[in-house]
Amino acid sequence: MSAGSAADRRPGWVVYALLAAFVIGSALPLYWSFMIGSHTKGEAAQKPPPLLPGGHFLENARRVFDTVDFWQAMLNSLLVSGGAAASVVFFSTLAGYSFAKLRFRGSNVLMGFVVMTMAVPTQLAIVPLFILMRDYGLLDTLLAVALPSLVTAFGVFFMRQYLLDAIPDELIEAARVDGATMLRTFWTVAVPAARPAMAILFVFTFMTVWTDYMWPLVALQETETLQIALDRLALTGQGQTTDYALVLAGAGLSTIPLLILFVVAGRNLVAGIMQGAVKG
């Protein structure tokens, strides 16, 4: 590994200490969330605040479930994120394969366009998107939440970069000689080769859509995703003294699904970020 490393020897303890400090600092807010979420409202508002966990987390969790429809919100988030991620992976693999391995007129110009759109801040266009959804009667539906995330320029770019090296041209030609149609070649040659990148792109897109707050806030009214449920929870928790025990128990609970995903697929995520960077 680490071909261009500045250090040829194993690093000294200072490096480990500095990294450990950074990691502990990174984990502290999460600890704080579950710690405050395990105290009563009164304890959480004390001065100075408690520093060790209390015994009221389940009680606070119940209060969260009484305040917002947490499980429905989680199911909605799952549907939207899963659907959008599947769509992004499918269409990006298709387009990425085409850009990487098929030659056609205008391919360079069109790919340039894709790269350019990666830099366009499309979320500034919420007003027309809102009008669009309202005019088509899609407001307050999960479809409206997912629609703007069904394709991403990043996905196309990422798959193209990956497939450039992942599929030998001879493999495609061989399939063609065997009389396979273009679509069949895509299924039997490109898709199997693209699998690792597809997994990375899926996890990445899933997380991006899951954590999005702005667009669901615009598109939804009664229906809730997990982030919108948090929004409502924060409003409920407001008051003369903010009910941090309730709010932070909710924030902690809402993070658990992604923490599980991270344990399972964190390596994919790390690989995706690092690959996207080198080739980008």
């Binding site: 391995k101 707050y213 929004d231 924060a234 903010t242 941090y244 909710g250 993070t255 080198v278």
Partner: protein
């Protein structure tokens, strides 16, 4: 690459007129297959992007030049630059722009510096490197909405952890939610928290791509670790530096979730005095809550142009600076 010509070659010899007509038809179908498939495969992206990306962006431009009847939901008359004039004369909009820049600077500058340092730490022969790489990414798993609520409590004016520490040091507690610049600091710190590890991994990837012999020759020239970092690593990761700075500019200037949810007043318009309202929040409040579509769209276009401008400027400055330090 599979070209059209090659694809034609792999087909059987051109059929003489006596051959089965079915073969001819299949050949013709195959030729169309080769010609059209590439376009077919990329078309879903372009169609969907056009619908939910490009069209809304252009529509924003059109809306910004028109009046809008809020009572009857009807497109009003062409009003020229009236919406732009209104927005640019709106003190709240100007305030939101200043807030956006202040939060952006407080988050991007320290973030890039710390991320490069963390990447340099990770770019050593660590034991358990997968563990360390995954560990720095943990904050990225926490959704911004959850992160703001957590940091809102850490920076709570009365019961927060930070104020408890400040109080313990015998200093005057800070009103994080009220004081304008301190509220920017609190918001910037949650952005930094979530993104530093992520950017460190991007820098790490770039550092690992630096050819090792560059370090060896620098070492032969008598350059120590620090000197190698300045004269080899930093210049070599310049393209990645530009990439990270440009993407964090695009993202950072659109910051919305944090200022929206950091607010502990029920209006949630970036504090009682809009002290931490960002421009994207302004667009949301004007466009979605108050339904001034034209004004919100004008504000969106102004921010859009600013973002593109700053991204280009960043690109130029980073090139200039890193080239100089590299020589």
């Amino acid at each position: 690459m599979l070209t059209e010509e090659q694809a034609g070659e792999v087909k059987p010899e051109p059929a003489p007129p006596t051959t089965d007509r079915r073969l001819l038809r299949r050949q013709r179908r195959s030729r169309w297959d080769v010609k059209l498939s590439p376009y077919l495969y990329i078309s879903p992206f372009f169609i969907l992007f056009g619908l939910v990306g490009l069209y809304p962006l252009l529509y924003t431009g059109w809306l910004s030049l028109h009046d809008w009847d809020r009572l009857y939901y009807q497109q009003g008359e062409f009003s020229g630059l009236e919406n732009f004039r209104f927005v640019l004369n709106d003190p709240v909009f100007i305030k939101s722009l200043v807030n956006t820049f202040s939060i952006f600077l407080m988050s991007s500058v320290p973030q890039v510096i710390v991320a490069v340092c963390v990447a340099a730490l990770l770019d050593t022969h660590l034991r358990g490197r997968t563990f360390w790489r995954m560990s720095v990414l943990v904050p990225f798993v926490v959704a911004p909405a959850a992160a703001v609520l957590i940091f809102g409590s850490v920076f709570a004016d009365k019961s927060g952890l930070v104020n408890a520490v400040i109080d313990g040091l015998g200093l005057e507690p800070i009103r994080w939610h009220v004081d304008r610049w301190w509220s920017h600091f609190a918001i910037a710190s949650m952005v930094n928290w979530r993104w530093t590890g992520y950017n460190a991994l991007i820098f790490l990837a770039a550092m690992q791509a630096v050819p090792r012999d560059l370090y060896e020759s620098a070492s032969l020239d008598g350059a120590g670790r620090i000197r190698q970092f300045w004269s080899v690593t930093l210049p070599m990761i310049r393209p990645t530096m530009i990439f990270v700075i440009v993407t964090s500019t695009i993202g950072g200037l659109q910051i919305f979730t944090e200022p929206r949810l950091f607010d502990d007043t029920p209006n949630r318009e970036g504090g009682a005095d809009h002290q931490f309202m960002t421009t994207t929040l302004y667009i949301y409040v004007k466009g979605i809550e108050d339904q001034f579509y034209g004004r919100a769209s004008a504000a969106a276009w102004i921010l859009f142009l600013i973002i593109v401008g700053i991204a280009l400027l960043n690109f130029a400055i980073t090139r200039l600076l890193t080239r100089r330090s590299g020589s």
